[in-house]
């Protein structure tokens, strides 16, 4: 199966990711550690794999804005996704990863809009 070299999100989820980064990062002009797109993208994929639920296909075209070699330089995400029981048989692994990211980012955004924070207790329960 041919693996894509670039993956991303739909335009809508991409905008949501930008909004989340704006909310979570310090205001302009204030020093501090800053998050980038890759950070939340990878977290969304990892949490999707943890849930082990079938992620729906993207509702629109992907922006393909992220280079796979930068997102997953050691192939760790690939390996983890490859081991997933819900990996579709006829789909490329990075396509599956993209679906997980799309669903995860949308969920982050919905939570943040409702509660003003991410549900760490739910995501990282022991």
């Amino acid at each position: 199966m041919d693996e894509p070299t670039r993956i991303g999100l739909t335009a809508e989820a991409g905008a949501q990711l930008e909004d989340l980064l704006d909310e979570l990062n310090p205001n302009k002009g204030i020093e501090g550690i800053k998050l980038i797109k890759f950070d939340l993208y990878r977290l969304a994929v990892a949490l999707g794999l943890k849930k082990s639920e079938v992620a729906p296909p993207l509702a629109g075209n992907s922006t393909s804005s992220l280079r796979v070699s930068e997102l997953d330089p050691d192939g760790v995400l690939y390996l983890a996704a490859e081991q997933s029981e819900v990996l579709p048989a006829d789909a490329p692994v990075y396509g599956f990863i993209e679906r997980l990211a799309e669903a995860g980012v949308r969920e982050f955004y919905a939570f943040y809009q409702t509660t003003g924070q991410l549900p760490f207790d739910q995501y990282f329960d022991e």
């Binding site: 979570l24 990062n25 310090p26 501090g32 550690i33 800053k34 998050l35 950070d39 939340l40 990878r42 977290l43 994929v45 990892a46 949490l47 794999l49 943890k50 050691d74 192939g75 760790v76 995400l77 390996l79 983890a80 081991q83 924070q117 760490f120 207790d121 995501y123 990282f124 022991e126």
Partner: protein, 660 residues
Amino acid sequence: MKLKELTINNFMPYKGEQRVSFPQHETQNVMLLFGDNMRGKTSFLNAMRWGFYGNAVGRHLRVIPRINLVNIEAATDGDWSMSIVLKFSEAGKEFEIRRRIEKKSHVSQPKQDADFEESVGLRVNGKAISGDAIENQINQVVPEEISRFFLFDGELLQEYENLLIEESEQGDKIKERIEQALGVPALIHGRDEFSNLLKDARRIQAKDAKKNTELKRFAEQQNQLEIRLTSLKNDLEDLLAQRMVIEKQVDDIDDELKNTEAVQRKKIELERLSAERKAAEDQIFNLNNSQRELLRTAWLDVLHKNMSPMLELIKTKRDNLQAVAETKAVLNSKIKILQKSIDDPTCATCKQSIPQENIQPIRDEISRLRAEEELSIYDPSEIRVLNSKIDRLSVIRSAEEGRRLRQNESSLQKLQVSLIRIESKEDELQEEIKGFDTDRIIRQRNKRDSLKAQQTRLNRDIDEIKASCDKNNKEQDHIATLISKSTGGLGQKSSIRVTMYQELEAIFATGIDRLRDGLRGEVERFATAAFAALTTEYSYSGLQINSNYGLSIIDQAGRVLKERSAGAEQIVALSLIDGLNRTARKAGPIVMDTPLGRLDPKHRNNVLKYLPKMADQVVLLVHEGEIDPDRDIQNFAARIGARYQIERISATESRIVKSD
């Protein structure tokens, strides 16, 4: 005297007509009026004072202007009238005082006392008393001089502490009022009258002496002394007036500074809160940074937990395959050794040959090992693949990001709550001190210091002038005596009069001292009895009175207690009030405003038990912090004849309602 009914109309916070009936029962003689601070307890007391005497007093006993007596709401509605009706009985007679002020018809907006017209009416047993006799009649029944001891503002208790300070100005004022209540002024006025008569007599004597050549010199001296005395008295009057002005200024500044003390405290509290807020904000900032740092690698923590079981599975699989490979190698090695011994059956060491009968078992063993070796199947490339997977999965390491994110989040939430609490407290304090000028506070402090310095100088000058007056008087007396005893003066009518007035003045002066001593003894005796009932400290033996009517606590060894707590001060002051009330010319009901403010529960309990015994009628104006309506009242419930409550309608309006 027994109070029966008070009707208030538009007085201070009481808009419209409000009526209170006082308890008439012999033992159920306590009336309670509950009200929070700023609701109108002191105004109730003032309503009674104004009804009796036409004046209401604020802090430092300053008279409250009429314009401030009329309820603001009523005045805004255009009703500039206010009235009090007081019904009471005395010696079997029924009294009714009606006092009213109203804006003069030609005045549109009143600004001063003169813009109001006051009318007062008095009925005794239903019969109207004529206007000019009213005030006199009231003062015979309820003398204004003793009002301080029955219309008693508990917030002024502190002033009584000044009685312990010899020569304090406020102590002098209170002493004067105490003596008025006790009846000393009758003798003082008598002495002063004779002093004036003596002055006149000396003048006439000097005039007579002028006609006598032998006494002319004395007459001239007497004249000079008289002129000097007049001048000294004028100076004294000027200085006393100046002192009064300065005292008022100091009192006003003290009032202002007392209010600003709270502002100063609030400013310090604000600074503390500001530092606390800054620390909380810094902690929140650091925690947010830490959260972002953890979020960057949190995905690895999630994958680590997710993939760990799989990694273990792969490792086990790899280990199993490696074990098979090792077994296969061992079997091959054994087969090779055995095959070699069959191929060359001579021992390499001892050169002996293996017997033929032993060869067959070796062959059997080789066959068994080969069968076993053939069962150990594995694909070496599979191990390589598994090892590669293990290597890649081992990159997924956890720094416990998830647990730390949760911990931080919990700390962040607590800090956010704490920050909101700090910020709202800051807002409250900012609101409370809004409009206060802190520079002005400093200026006022400096002004007060300068005024106090002036006051000290004035006091010294006043003392000097008083001493000069005394000296002058003595010299005048001496010269008058010389004239009286001289040949020319002896038998003269004016000299006889001078001698007579000198002796009468001395008699009255001695009388004053004796009366004072006697009254002080009485006050001390009654106050000590009251103190014994009120105090919870049994090691005290009693109270000792000083020349100012100040009371000191005496211990069992007869020593004066140097330091007294605020609660002890209040107990001593209440004891003094009781002593004065029992010693005064006329005993009346006791109306007390905030009498229990600084007392602990035990003392409060003692006071509540004792108060009903202090007078035939006791009216207590209290807030619920002083008397708990549920707990404290049980101790003297049998003595309560009436209960009222002041209800808040608005910041400028209150209403008195009867409660159960």
